[in-house]
C-alpha cells in the first residue's frame, strides 16, 4: 500500500467535497442545478468538456493501446477529436438557441408527439447508463489494483461520492470537479511526456527508434494494423467519432455558458486541450515501451505487465517519479473517473426530471421544488443502479462498453438531432421509427459481434465479424428517418413541417430563445 497514493487520494476527495459544499450554497433554483445558472465562461466550460473527453479510458486505455499496438492507439486519438469541429459548425449554436437544458428539448422543439420525447429521453438514458457502467467497472478495477481495496467497496465509494456531488452541488460542483481533474490530468500528462522527451534528448526520431528497439513487434508498431486488422473496423471506428455529438452529458454542457459566443469559445478551448492531450498520450505510450522494458518490477514472472493492459501509464509514472508520483497519478486517475461519472449522473437526472417529469408528464407546468426533489431521487437511484450493474458486469471489457455507448449515440441521438435541426421534412414518425430501427440494429449487431458472440457466449465464430457497427447503423438511421418521414401523410406531420420556419429563424438568430439563459 502506497502512503503517497493514499495521501493524494484523501487530498483530492477533500478538494472535491469543499467544491461541492461551496457550490451547494449557490444553488437556489433548477436553472442553477441543471446549468450552473448559465454563468460559466468559455474557458471553464472548455476545460470541463475536455474533462468529459479525457476519461480514464483515454489516459490509461489509450496509453495502454499505444504501448501494446503502437500506431493504432493514435487512430483512436484522432477519431476522438474529430467530432468536435462538427459539433461547433453544425450543432452547438443551434442547440443553445433551441433548447433549455437538454438535447431532448431541441429534438422535440417542433416534433410535437410525446413519443419523440419518450424515445429520445430513453435512448439518452440508455447511452448514459451503458457509459456509466463502463466507467464504474474501470474505477472499481483500478482502485482494486492501486489501493488494494475490494472491488465492491470501491464501486460503492465511487457511487456514493458522485451522488453527493450532484445532489448537493448540481452542475456547478460537477463542472468544477471536472475542471480540477482536467487541469491535474493535463499537468501530469505534460510532466510524463516532458520527462520522456528529455530522456531522448528532445528528438522525436530517437523516441521512435528506442520504442521500436524495445518492442517485440519492432518497426511494425509505427504502422497501422496491429490492433485494427480489417478495413471495415477502422472505418467504423473513424465514423464512431461522430457519436460524441450524440452524447447527452457532453451536449448538456452547451447550456452552462452565458451566450452563443461563449459556447463557441468553449469548443475551441476543448479542441485545443483534447488535441494536445491526445498527442501527449501517444508520446507517453511510446515512452512506456522503452522505459519499462527490462525493468522486472513491472512484469510478472512470465513476462506479462502487472495489473493488465491499462497499466503502462501507471507503471511509467513510478519508473519516472517514484512512489510519490505514482501516488499522485493514481489519485488523478481516480479523480478522472469520478468527474466523468458525476457528469453522466447529472445528465441522467436532468433527463428524468426535466425531459420526462416536467416536460412530458406536467407539460412544462411542474412545481420546481418537486422537480428538483425528483432529480435528486434520480441521482440516488442512478447511484444504486450503477453500483449494482457495475458489480454484475465487473468482468466485462471496458473498452467494449464505451464503444457500445458511443455506437448507440452515433446511430440514434446524433442522426435524430442533426435531422431535426436541418431537415424541414422530418416528422415525429420518422424520428421515432427511424431511431428505433437504428437502436435495435445496433443492439443486434453488437450481440452478433465477436466481442459478445465469441467472448461472452463462447461460440467459435461471430455472424457479424466487426467490433463496431457504426459504418452500417448510422447510414441506416439516416435512411430510415428519411423514409418514415416522407411517407408520413398525417395532419400532425404537416404541422410539424410547417413549424420548421419558426424553428429555423430561432435556431439561426436565437430570436425568442429563453431569456433566462441569454
Amino acid at each position: 500500500m502506497n502512503i503517497a497514493a493514499i495521501f493524494m487520494f484523501v487530498v483530492i476527495i477533500s478538494i472535491t467535497l469543499v467544491i461541492t459544499y461551496l457550490a451547494s450554497k449557490r444553488i437556489s433554483n433548477k436553472n442553477d442545478f441543471y446549468t450552473a445558472g448559465g454563468k460559466l465562461t468559455g474557458l471553464q466550460n472548455g476545460l470541463a468538456i475536455s474533462g468529459d473527453y479525457m476519461s480514464a479510458g483515454t489516459f490509461l486505455g489509450i496509453t495502454g493501446l499505444v504501448y501494446f499496438a503502437g500506431y493504432d492507439g493514435l487512430i483512436i486519438c484522432v477519431s476522438a477529436v474529430i467530432g468536435l469541429p462538427f459539433i461547433l459548425f453544425l450543432i452547438a449554436e443551434r442547440l443553445r438557441n433551441l433548447g433549455e437544458y437538454t438535447f431532448v428539448d431541441v429534438v422535440s422543439y417542433r416534433l410535437s408527439s410525446t413519443s419523440v420525447r419518450v424515445f429520445s429521453a430513453s435512448s439518452s438514458l440508455l447511452v448514459v447508463l451503458i457509459y456509466l457502467i463502463g466507467q464504474i467497472v474501470a474505477a472499481g478495477t483500478l482502485i482494486q489494483v492501486l489501493f488494494d481495496v475490494p472491488y465492491l467497496l470501491s464501486i460503492i465509494l465511487i457511487g456514493s461520492l458522485m451522488s453527493i456531488y450532484v445532489i448537493f452541488g448540481g452542475m456547478l460542483a460537477t463542472t468544477w470537479v471536472q475542471i480540477v481533474k482536467a487541469t491535474l490530468l493535463l499537468a501530469s500528462g505534460t510532466f510524463l511526456a516532458g520527462a520522456i522527451l528529455l530522456e531522448v534528448g528532445l528528438n522525436f526520431e530517437t523516441l521512435l527508434q528506442r520504442a521500436t528497439e524495445s518492442h517485440a513487434k519492432g518497426r511494425a508498431i509505427l504502422a497501422p494494423g496491429l490492433f485494427f486488422k480489417d478495413p471495415i473496423s477502422v472505418l467504423s471506428l473513424c465514423l464512431a467519432g461522430f457519436g460524441i455529438a450524440g452524447l447527452p452529458h457532453v451536449l448538456m454542457r452547451f447550456f452552462t455558458v452565458a451566450n452563443v459566443r461563449e459556447a463557441r469559445k468553449s469548443i475551441f478551448y476543448a479542441t485545443g486541450f483534447i488535441g494536445y492531450f491526445e498527442i501527449l498520450v501517444f508520446i507517453i505510450g511510446l515512452g512506456a515501451i522503452f522505459i519499462l522494458a527490462g525493468q522486472t518490477d513491472y512484469f510478472t514472472a512470465d513476462g506479462h505487465l502487472l495489473g493488465g493492459a491499462n497499466m503502462p501509464a501507471i507503471h511509467l509514472s513510478h519508473a519516472i517519479g517514484g512512489d510519490f508520483f505514482l501516488g499522485f497519478i493514481s489519485a488523478v486517475a481516480f479523480a478522472t473517473i469520478l468527474a466523468v461519472v458525476t457528469g453522466l449522473t447529472l445528465s441522467a437526472a436532468s433527463t428524468v426530471s426535466h425531459d420526462i417529469y416536467s416536460q412530458l408528464i406536467k407539460k412544462g407546468e411542474s412545481n420546481e421544488k418537486m422537480e428538483l426533489l425528483l432529480s435528486k431521487i434520480t441521482v440516488i437511484s442512478t447511484g444504486i443502479i450503477a453500483i449494482g450493474l457495475g458489480y454484475i458486469f465487473q468482468h466485462e471489457n471496458i473498452a467494449f462498453l464505451n464503444a457500445f455507448a458511443l455506437s448507440l449515440a452515433a446511430a440514434t441521438n446524433f442522426p435524430i438531432l442533426v435531422m431535426s435541426i436541418f431537415w424541414s421534412g422530418m416528422t415525429s414518425r420518422g424520428a421515432v421509427i427511424g431511431g428505433f430501427i437504428a437502436l435495435i440494429l445496433t443492439m443486434v449487431l453488437v450481440l452478433l459481434s465477436p466481442t459478445v458472440w465469441i467472448n461472452v457466449f463462447g461460440y467459435a465464430e461471430a455472424p457479424f465479424p466487426y467490433t463496431y457497427p457504426t459504418l452500417f447503423t448510422m447510414p441506416v438511421a439516416f435512411l430510415a428517418i428519411f423514409w418514415f418521414s416522407i411517407t408520413d401523410k398525417s395532419e400532425r406531420a404537416a404541422s410539424e413541417r410547417a413549424a420548421f420556419t419558426h424553428q429555423f429563424v430561432r435556431s439561426e438568430t436565437g430570436f425568442g430563445a429563453n431569456t433566462l439563459i441569454n
Binding site: L74, L88, E93, F268, E508
Partner: protein
C-alpha cells in the same frame, strides 16, 4: 416577426454567407479525414512509408497529428468569423426588425 426576419435582406445574405463559410470548413475537414480513414483502411502500407530514407517517422504519424491540429485550426477560424462577423450581423437584423 418571423416573416419579417425571414424576408429581411440582411438575414438572407447572412444565412447564405454563413452556410457557404461553414460548408467550406466542413468540406476541408471531411476531405482530409476521409483520406486519412481510407488510407488507414485500404493503404496502411503507404502510411508506413518513411518520410525520408532511414527515418523512423513515417507518413502516418505526421498525418494523424496534422488531422488533430487541423480540427483545432478550423474551430479557431470559425469562432473568429462567427464571434466577430456573424453575431454582429444577427444583432443588426434583430435591431432592424425591432424598429
Amino acid at each position: 416577426m418571423e416573416k419579417q426576419i425571414l424576408e429581411n435582406p440582411r438575414f438572407k445574405s447572412l444565412v447564405k454567407k454563413r452556410n457557404r463559410f461553414t460548408a467550406t470548413l466542413i468540406a476541408i475537414m471531411l476531405f482530409v479525414y476521409t483520406i486519412y480513414a481510407l488510407m488507414l483502411a485500404y493503404f496502411p502500407t503507404v502510411l508506413a512509408l518513411p518520410l525520408w530514407q532511414g527515418s523512423f517517422i513515417n507518413i502516418g504519424i505526421p498525418f494523424a497529428i496534422f488531422v488533430i491540429v487541423l480540427t483545432f485550426g478550423l474551430t479557431g477560424i470559425y469562432i473568429r468569423k462567427a464571434n466577430n462577423e456573424f453575431d454582429v450581423e444577427i444583432r443588426k437584423v434583430l435591431e432592424e426588425i425591432a424598429e
